[in-house]
């Protein structure tokens, strides 16, 4: 069936202003949106740029705005949309556009780096594995599904007004290490997130959770950080 694709185009070498270009694509209902973009590029217009790699929602390369909603182009099929086979494809909002649908992800990864996304332990590791309660592993397991696609951060209204706010993805990684029983830096991690640019920046608007292509309960995970901060405070007050 024939589908119309209206695609955001921007090439800094050609002009300062973005434009929209229309393509007709012959697609199957089961084609992914990524397949349609590939058809445009391979059969009509090789100058179109976008990122992609695994094509099944695990590498996190191809988060885009599809018909006004943030989605992975490889995880949405033509049949998933009730828009009479008309599609508008735009880059992720919030991020700076480099070319066409390719955006600058560096600020996103810079924030990721600041939450110290690695296990910190002041104990020497045992000869074999650290024992870990399976309930503890299950507690933070939903956070492990993150593919760093940036969808949540692009969707978050707080990020749009406060560019220092860590954003849902970095906070999720923060939660993953705060919650891991093997990590001994819990106190300093919580202290780092205990401010308006950290966990308290989240006003529970749920946009991140709504768009997450991996269905991660982001807002709840951030709420867990807030809860743990409160508990840590209580513990400290009780101790002093």
């Amino acid at each position: 069936m024939k589908c119309t694709f209206i695609v955001y185009r921007f090439d800094p070498a050609v002009g300062k202003e973005p434009r929209y270009q229309e393509y007709m694509v012959e697609a199957e209902p089961t084609d992914k949106i990524l397949d349609c973009l590939n058809k445009i590029r391979w059969e009509q217009d090789p100058t179109l740029s976008y990122r992609y790699s695994c094509a099944h929602g695990i590498c996190g390369s191809d988060a885009l705005m599809i018909n006004g909603r943030i989605e992975l182009a490889c995880q949405k099929l033509v049949r998933d949309f009730k828009t009479a086979n008309n599609f508008v494809i735009e880059p992720l909002p919030l991020f700076k556009v480099i070319k066409d649908l390719v955006v600058d992800m560096n600020p996103f990864f810079e924030k990721h780096r600041t939450v110290r996304p690695y296990l910190i332990s002041d104990e020497d590791p045992p000869e074999k594995e650290w024992l870990q309660d399976p309930e503890n592993q299950k507690f933070f397991e939903p956070a492990l599904a993150c593919i760093l696609c940036g969808s949540c951060t692009a969707a978050c209204p707080i990020n749009r007004s406060n560019d220092k706010y860590l954003g849902p993805a970095a906070l999720l990684r923060g939660f993953r290490y705060v919650a891991d029983s093997r990590d001994t830096a819990t106190g300093s991690r919580l202290a780092q997130l205990d401010n308006e640019d950290g966990a308290w920046g989240c006003k529970s608007m749920w946009w991140c959770t709504d768009v997450c292509p991996k269905s991660i309960p982001l807002t709840k995970s951030i709420a867990q950080i807030k809860r743990l901060i409160k508990e840590e405070e209580k513990r400290k007050t009780a101790g002093s």
């Binding site: 099944h56 590498c59 592993q137 492990l144």
Partner: protein, 575 residues
């Protein structure tokens, strides 16, 4: 632009990152990747990583070694396989200490599950050997190692395409790379280069591999004089989603899933009475296609059913969450109540750049090293997988041999200085880009790539024969001719995918030719290489590694390398 590092690592998957961590903070090291590091295809690995921890039941490394040797159809080098199996438990503990969030047993140890071809006591029954984090094992290990590299301040060049190796007087001292964002070439001068560029499943039409899996590192090393080993051995994973090739992990069968034909019959019981659906991948893929040939495919088509309906919602939504999602999204099937349509999909390349167990690239059958050049992971052939890789052994391979390559490079760089760069090292890469960009030929890459993927799928996949392979070889060579006339329509310098596609296609054509030549040469059936005209394994003649050396004038030249056999003499392979 010029940069200098002691070591350059090409590829940011598990092998590359593990090597980078080993080189550590006291070595100047740069990791470059044509995709952002966490987009690397190691992240798509689902089911697990094998090690005889014995956390769930009795196990030992020697059983793991035996299974790997038998799984390889006795073509794997047993000295290297011994290293792999013995080092596996240490590797898992190391990952756990780095923070990898493995699933746990009720008592808090790393949980383990059954996987194809992994058995207790030399084939007696299945054993739980696969350590896992749900069905996103590769993804969490990739994230953990990448984040460890961030902690260590490792320098990354993300979105840089490898163009060529800098080689003079038979020694490698750096790479030339193309920056996707600017279209500029960079010279990275080094004492050692590790190729960790992964597989090249994109040579085939139906594959579980990423678009980025085009074998750039292999083709570049090949042209620079490094031989390619055992390239005819291509693994087709039995359970790719019908028509799409997206992987449904073997863990689905490890957790108890079964394959059924159009009669609803669990056909693997007939072919592998002891371990049934968890026979090695080469066998299960052949069995599926035998069922299809006998008219027992679903609806008379070329697929069968993977039935997980008896596993229950809890197991599917927790231990197999990703693949359950894939089935829902891409086949529109609800795995809790319906079987998933599956067919074999190109998954893994056993062959690769000939390398020893320390990651040194070797140039001949005696193991003479290529100074300064190293390879690890799927792009290398050590060879631990021989004619067929067992599930759970690829992640292990990347980590064990990535680490060993890192150690060896750290030793090597203290024995040599920086050699002077040849005059104008970027010349060849610049000329290649200019030729493509300025060409006014009448071909485009798209149709050539499609025809290549189709002919490889039709003639050089699970079942092969001389006439089909000969046809495929002619076709690949015709496509190579047409490639000379392709023109790039995107004239820009920023994220020019048109140009990158053309560069990758060049590499894929070279590799397809070597795969086909190897398959034609090897007149026997062993592991994943199944010749209809030579149905038996022939140890007298073919218990050898196939090696190809590049020759510009005469095309790839074949020679052979003996197989190392230590503990286990070749026997008939039954499961």
């Amino acid at each position: 632009m010029k940069h200098q590092f002691d070591v350059i690592i090409v590829g940011a998957g598990l092998a590359g990152l593990r090597a980078a961590i080993e080189l550590g903070e006291d070595t100047s090291v740069a990791v470059l990747s044509k995709v952002f590091a966490t987009r690397s295809h190691s992240g798509a690995a689902q089911g697990g990583i094998g090690a005889a921890l014995g956390n769930e039941e009795e196990d030992n490394w020697e059983w793991h070694m035996f299974d790997t040797v038998k799984g390889s159809d006795y073509l794997g080098d047993q000295d290297a396989i011994e290293i792999l199996a013995r080092d596996a438990p240490r590797t898992i503990y190391e990952l756990e200490h780095l923070g990898v969030p493995f699933n746990r047993t009720p008592e808090g140890k790393i949980a383990q599950r059954a996987f194809g071809g992994h058995t207790r006591n030399f084939g007696e029954a299945l054993v739980k050997r696969a350590c896992f984090a749900a069905d996103r094992t590769g993804r969490v290990i990739l994230d953990t190692l990448w984040e460890k590299c961030l902690q260590g301040g490792i320098r990354f060049f993300d979105e840089f395409q490898l163009m060529s190796l800098i080689v003079s007087e038979g020694q490698c001292h750096g790479v030339i790379v193309y920056e996707l964002a600017s279209g500029k070439l960079h010279t990275l001068h080094s004492k050692a280069v590790l190729l960790a560029t992964g597989g090249y499943g994109k040579v085939y039409k139906t594959t579980s591999n990423a678009f980025a899996s085009t074998g750039d590192g292999l083709a570049i090393a090949f042209r620079a004089g490094a031989p390619l080993e055992d390239m005819e051995f291509v693994q087709f994973h039995p359970t790719g989603i019908y028509k799409l090739g997206i992987l449904i992990s073997e863990a689905a069968r490890g957790e108890g899933g079964v394959l059924r034909n159009n009669e609803g019959k669990r056909f693997m019981e007939l072919y592998a009475p002891v371990i049934k659906d968890l026979a090695p991948r080469d066998m299960v893929s052949r069995c599926i296609l035998e069922e299809v040939r006998a008219g027992r495919g679903i609806d008379g088509k070329d697929y069968v059913h993977l039935d997980l309906t008896h596993l229950g919602e809890e197991v599917l939504n927790t231990k197999l969450a990703e693949i359950t999602g894939f089935a829902r999204t891409y086949s529109g099937v609800e795995p809790i109540t319906e079987p998933i349509p599956v067919q074999p999909t190109c998954h893994y390349m056993m062959g690769g750049i000939a390398a020893d167990a320390d990651g040194k690239v070797i140039t001949d059958s005696e193991g003479t090293p290529f100074p300064g050049l190293y390879a690890a992971g799927e792009c290398a052939c050590v060879s631990v997988h021989g004619a067929n890789r067992l599930g759970c052994n690829s992640l292990l391979d990347t980590l064990v041999f990535g680490r060993r390559a890192g150690k060896e490079m750290r030793r090597y760089i203290h024995t040599v200085g920086f050699s002077p760069l040849p005059a104008n090292p970027e010349k060849e890469a610049a000329a290649k880009i200019a030729t493509l960009m300025e060409s006014n030929g009448n071909e485009t890459g798209g149709p050539i790539r499609e025809e290549l993927q189709e002919v490889m799928m039709d003639k050089v996949s699970v079942f092969r024969n001389r006439s089909g392979l000969t046809e495929a070889l002619e076709k690949v060579r015709e496509l190579k001719g047409r490639y000379q006339k392709i023109a790039i329509q995107d004239k820009g310098n920023c994220f020019n995918r048109d140009l990158l596609d053309a560069i990758e296609l060049d590499y894929m054509l070279d590799l397809a030719e070597v795969i086909t030549l190897g398959a034609l040469a090897r007149e026997e059936s062993r592991g994943a290489h199944s010749r209809e005209d030579f149905p038996d394994r022939d140890d007298q003649k073919w218990l050898v590694h196939t090696m190809f050396r590049y020759s510009k004038e005469e095309g790839p030249q074949v020679f052979f390398k003996p197989v190392t056999i230590t503990r286990f003499q070749p026997k008939e392979r039954k499961y």
